[in-house]
Symmetry: C2
Subunit: 766 residues, 2 copies
């Protein structure tokens, strides 16, 4: 092996790879030369080898990252750090047709506040659904801090299926976090507000402003949050922050920290010190400890109040029933993270230098013994800090968030002010290693680090500033996610990844093989309700129907390379409701649909049915077309919406041909097609002589090519009918259409052939 | 060198790098081991070394890629293939505040059609401004195919500054392309339509539907398109496609190709063969050759018609004045690309296997000699194909687009159906090399390949399908941009890059050092008009003013870590107009501003002033906060908008304190601050003892830290005043505020110290 590598390093790389381009005018570089030219160190080359993913290679882990105020979720791979998708969640996004088709508009409409569309979200904390405390890769939840909401994303198709608006909060932060079997999705307040939706002056802050934790019931069978079975626990106006659910030993409990338990209200404009001064004065804030399982029972037993048509357990009830406790925690903490075994809860106090390790058994013992140190002004029992602690460790200036390793007792804490990650042992209470990051790390993320079975290997540092790390792109900088190798004792920086859109707050990573997304929908599928669409149609059944209410329903199909119908003719004032079904079965054969001047831009993946409804307000000519480069004849996948002025009749007359064809045109085209068929036959022979059935990708391609050849046969039949009637115009055009299906079949066949060649297919017996 | 590398390959990498972690429990891998574990070949490692960019490294080229139907432009680096930014253009995007602040709403409003907001675009072809035919990196232009529009993006701040709506087109495609000194931005029709905005039946397609090329006049001094000085040339309804401007020898001319010169109108729903059949029947379409310089003179001479308040040169005038010609071109071409010396025009006919090399001198000679082969049905002279050609080369099935190398006579053509790139010599007319790509390549892009001085090195294959190239993310797949090394005779695939959002059509790359974006704005800057904002304010000058029209103007500032004002108190029914200036000077210190339930989400980069105007419709409590994680006290950067019910008076009364402070609290805080100051002093000493002035990054940090320490001094002064008056409440809080500024200064100081440590700063004489 070393011999081969030495060759790679010292001889022409191309020669070393055995390729036959000796005597080239431009000689290829060796690794040595590349390192010299690009200023790479040996360490860099090692990091490159650990992250570079060759064509067709797969990533080991998939990350779901908040897109911050872009209102989206982004998906990227580890270790390649390549972004695979932005999933539209709270913000309309035309590539996905999100907020442009009727189906996704209905999802966004669920997120309206005071009847108003809110066209963005400030996404913070994504959470993957769990089964027995392990990530299961089925669902993803994410919150909107700005307009308290939670969204549900289906990891079968990476689409947003539901948005729920928090009924009592005016601001939130500590969501989404799930309980170990995804019974509930946790959402905690940030800035206190009145539960009611009316005006309450700030002079009543202490009395009428409140925090809360909402437990959203997730109905896994339906794949939707059940708002009617969800509830909240009222909390004091303490600026609640991140949360986490207990697991194993601590299952049934949840933990929410806080800052500004000073309950300070700023007002720098009128001479008061600002929030930042008043909210950071006390040495400790409060960790909220809630028994959510018992809370759910209390709600079921009718002990909740109804506020805004939502069940809320009051502080008074929560205290009386023994489900709510506070424990001091060092100054303005951010992360609160339950250890994989559920025994410890680590809190990072961002204005302190310590991380505090609470021990659940100690907390439970204090609660059971009613051993309380104090009560807060709202009557909530306060447990003694020291008695609740396992240990405290000095980890650096500005500890922020903690993530667990697969190695026992090992945790990583982000250190904001020092711009470092500290690796430490929370059992023994000692620091193991530190690494510098660039710059000002917020959250960090280990692989499945929030579950009962962290996977180790990698850590990502979600840095808030990138400053000089990348080529400059103007005053608004990308953020920087740095990939760190944590396989060894010493952490090693592997990769800097710019974030091109949005400011991610938190991210979660799952082993790639746990995700099993589909590549197509059942034909005629409404992906937002996950049901057959009532507006689906099949090839040959396309139609335009007018209903009594002045609506023109267009039931159309999309296939390489035409839209049916190609002409849509309506009258000014009519409502137009387009319904398109993509009738392709081939993977990645998405079609788009864009229509001028009507804000209609659809993404129609194979099998999907989508709709777009609008008023035909202005007479005129509106071209439409497929926006996805789907085939060689993609540009010809077009049509016209004609909006006639009121009272002007539709034109039934035949169109004047721009070009007239005679028998010789027909004969020539048929000759071309016959020649083309010979090429196709040779490709078919090539494929079928090989063990193509061993390659699922090729089997799918062959299936698709067969579809195209069937379509070709249909067109050929039409051609023959017209030729029989000596209608050379139509005979020629259908001959051309036959040819076009041949081209599509050839395209697929060549792709299959290339795949077989590159993947070591073998000739099989005839 | 080989010795070192051998060590890297065969020993523990960590040991080899001289780090002192011998006897580690988890041994680090060697390169050999990494290759084995990850299944990497030697070729892969070489590709990794050619693309991997270590932390802080810079890319050589910057790519501006269309974001397709996402309506955005994306920016990425070569060779790292990391996406640096999505620039919002036609689609509102909250992270950038685009479409959320008043200033950018005004830009989007320029793009309204029939008075309606169009909230997406189908961006296709970006073009960087040119000087003498070379890319100058000052401006970027991009088109919207769906709703014919052109946008102007400033490469000083990567922001969209202007959108113009084409006054006569109903669909377009062949834009944006610039003339060699960016006098004009070219936009050509796609699907024909009537120039007027009324209904014209398809029976009048041949007579009343038209194509056109619009020449948008760019006023470089103002950095804006001047619509009044722009004009169009009328063309037949031939589905015009891509365009290119002549250069050097062919300067003054432009070239636009076409498909569907059959002028076929489909109607598959009524039994007619579809567009795809009728639009691909003829063996040739038409290359349009236009003398735009003379056209501009004719317009200046008053020879244009006014249509929709826009100058249009009719076909008749264009023919009579000798500025418009046609040349046959092989079947349904896409790319039309003028060679760096301006002597050749290469057209790729996507339903043909040839690329055709036209020679401008031959075209010019035929025109000068009035040597025409024919006329089209609209009277336009047709030049003979063979007489215009230099050569034709069989490049593969489905040639699509061409890009030039720095090596003379070398061009690369994308081959859609074969999924290949063909490298060939257009002088000699011979194929040099082919490489397979995955899958179905559309456009391709070489470095500055459209200019008079292509830069070679790299080529990007913009593949339309990715199918099995990446981890699956549901039915909607990312696209794949493949980076190819073209330094040598043989092309080598280096990297597969997924495109996570949008379907890019075309991209353009420029040497990174030609871009000089700024890192901050002048204080109080309106970035969309590029003028001082009338709504700017300075620290200490913040104010709330009510105007006679029921508008509450809030002139506020943003700085680490507070928003001024922190309380905004208005009455139901008032219009609220927020104006925030970010008064930071530090690079990357962007602040955001999100307000619940009002669709207000602002991005305020250092120096910028932005506004958001809305009606206070519903009484209630609306928290707001900074959305960018700007500092350790970021979460405390908050405030409340209070909307009082009509007739309810504002509350002037003092707030009740949640926490009361006494002298001992004050004394304790002052002690903390004094200790902190000692730490800061030590960091200052560390920095000033080193040659920090040799590092511009550190100089900027020191400037920023000095700002923070000045703010600290202000807070300290307030503290002392209150302490003097024995007001321990305020004295304690201002002491805390002093401390907060110390923390910010320390944060910056530590960052500077780390930078010096990592960049080899030296101790200088005391």
């Amino acid at each position: 092996m070393t011999g081969t590598l030495k060759r790679l390093l010292t001889f022409s790389a191309i020669a070393g790879m055995g390729l036959a381009f000796v005597g080239s005018a431009f000689a290829a570089e060796t690794l040595d030369q590349v390192m010299k030219r690009r200023g790479l160190t040996e360490k860099d080359v090692l990091a490159a080898a650990k992250t570079y993913t060759p064509t067709g290679g797969r990533d080991e882990f998939i990350v779901f990252s908040s897109g911050g105020q872009s209102g989206q979720v982004l998906v990227y791979g580890i270790p390649s750090m390549r972004i695979l998708k932005y999933i539209a969640v709270f913000t309309p996004e035309p590539w996905q047709g999100y907020g442009f088709d009727d189906e996704s508009k209905a999802v966004l409409a669920q997120g309206r506040i005071d009847g108003k569309d809110i066209n963005y979200g400030d996404t913070h904390h994504p959470a993957i659904s769990e089964t027995n405390g392990e990530l299961d890769g089925e669902w993803l939840f994410i919150n909107d801090k700005a307009n308290p909401r939670i969204a549900v994303i289906d990891l079968k198709d990476f689409e947003t299926k539901q948005i729920v608006v928090n009924p009592i909060m005016k601001s939130e932060h500590g969501g989404a976090f799930v309980t170990p079997n995804t019974d509930y999705v946790i959402e905690a307040t940030q800035y206190a507000g009145p539960f009611t939706n009316d005006y309450v002056p700030l002079s009543e802050f202490n009395e009428k402003y409140r925090g809360a934790v909402t437990y959203w019931k997730f109905d896994r069978e339906k794949g939707r949050i059940d708002a009617a079975k969800s509830f909240s626990v009222e909390l004091p106006p303490y600026s609640q922050d991140l949360s986490d659910a207990g697991k194993l030993d601590s299952d049934g409990w949840s933990f929410t920290n806080s800052f500004c338990t000073e309950r300070y209200v700023g007002g720098i404009e009128s001479g008061r010190p600002p929030f930042e001064a008043g909210c950071s004065q006390k040495d400790t804030d409060f960790l909220h400890v809630i028994n959510w399982k018992k809370a759910a029972e209390l709600v079921a037993a009718g002990k909740a109040q109804r506020i805004n048509d939502h069940d809320v357990l009051s502080i008074e009830t929560a205290v009386a029933e023994g489900i709510l406790y506070l424990i001091p925690e060092p100054k303005s903490p951010h992360g609160v993270d339950v250890s994989p075994d559920g025994k410890y809860i680590i809190v990072a106090g961002k204005l302190d230098t310590h991380a505090s390790v609470y021990e659940f058994s100690k907390i439970k013992a204090l609660i059971d013994a009613k051993d309380f140190a104090d009560k807060d002004p709202y009557g909530i029992p306060i447990l003694d800090l020291k008695k609740s602690l396992h240990t405290q460790v000095q980890v650096g200036l500005g500890p922020l968030h903690n993530q667990y390793d697969s190695k026992p007792c090992v945790v990583y804490t982000s250190i904001y002010v020092d711009s470092q990650v500290t690796k430490w042992d929370y059992c023994e209470g000692k620091v193991l290693d530190k690494i510098s990051v660039h710059y000002n790390i917020g959250h960090l993320m280990s692989m499945e680090g929030e579950s009962t079975k962290p996977k180790g290997h990698y850590l990502v540092s979600l840095n808030k500033l990138s400053i000089d790390r990348f080529n400059p792109v103007g005053p608004l900088h990308p953020q920087n996610h740095q990939l760190i190798d944590i396989s060894n004792d010493k952490m090693e920086l592997l990769y800097d990844m710019p974030l091109p859109l949005g400011e991610p707050h938190y991210a979660t990573a799952i082993a790639a093989d746990k995700l099993q997304p589909k590549v197509r929908y059942q034909t005629g599928w409404d992906s937002r309700t996950d049901q057959k669409s009532e507006f689906r149609t099949l090839p040959g059944r396309e139609r335009i129907e007018r209903t009594g209410d002045g609506t023109v329903h267009v039931y159309g199909t999309l296939i390489r390379s035409h839209i049916t119908p190609e002409i849509i003719d309506v009258e000014e004032g009519e409502t137009v409701s387009l319904h398109f079904t993509n009738v392709e079965r081939a993977q990645d054969e998405t079609h788009g649909f864009a229509l001028r001047a009507h804000n209609v831009n659809l993404s129609v993946e194979p099998g999907k049915t989508v709709s777009a409804t609008f008023k035909a307000e202005k007479a005129g000519v509106y071209p439409y077309y497929c926006t996805e480069f789907c085939s060689a004849l993609h540009l010809e996948m077009q049509g016209y919406l004609l909006i006639r002025p009121k009272g002007v009749a539709a034109e039934g007359a035949a169109l004047k041909e721009g070009q007239v064809y005679a028998e010789e045109d027909y004969t020539k085209q048929v000759k071309t097609n016959t020649d083309t068929q010979a090429v196709i036959d040779s490709v078919v022979e090539y494929i079928t002589q090989r063990n193509f059935k061993d390659f699922p990708t090729v089997v799918a391609l062959v299936e698709d090519a067969t579809d195209q050849l069937n379509f070709a046969a249909d067109a050929k039949k039409k051609m023959e009918d017209f030729a029989g009637a000596k209608d050379w115009q139509n005979a020629t055009l259908w001959a051309q259409q036959w040819f076009q299906y041949q081209v599509k079949a050839a395209d697929i066949g060549l792709r299959a052939k290339t795949y077989l060649d590159q993947n070591g297919a073998k000739v099989v017996g005839k």
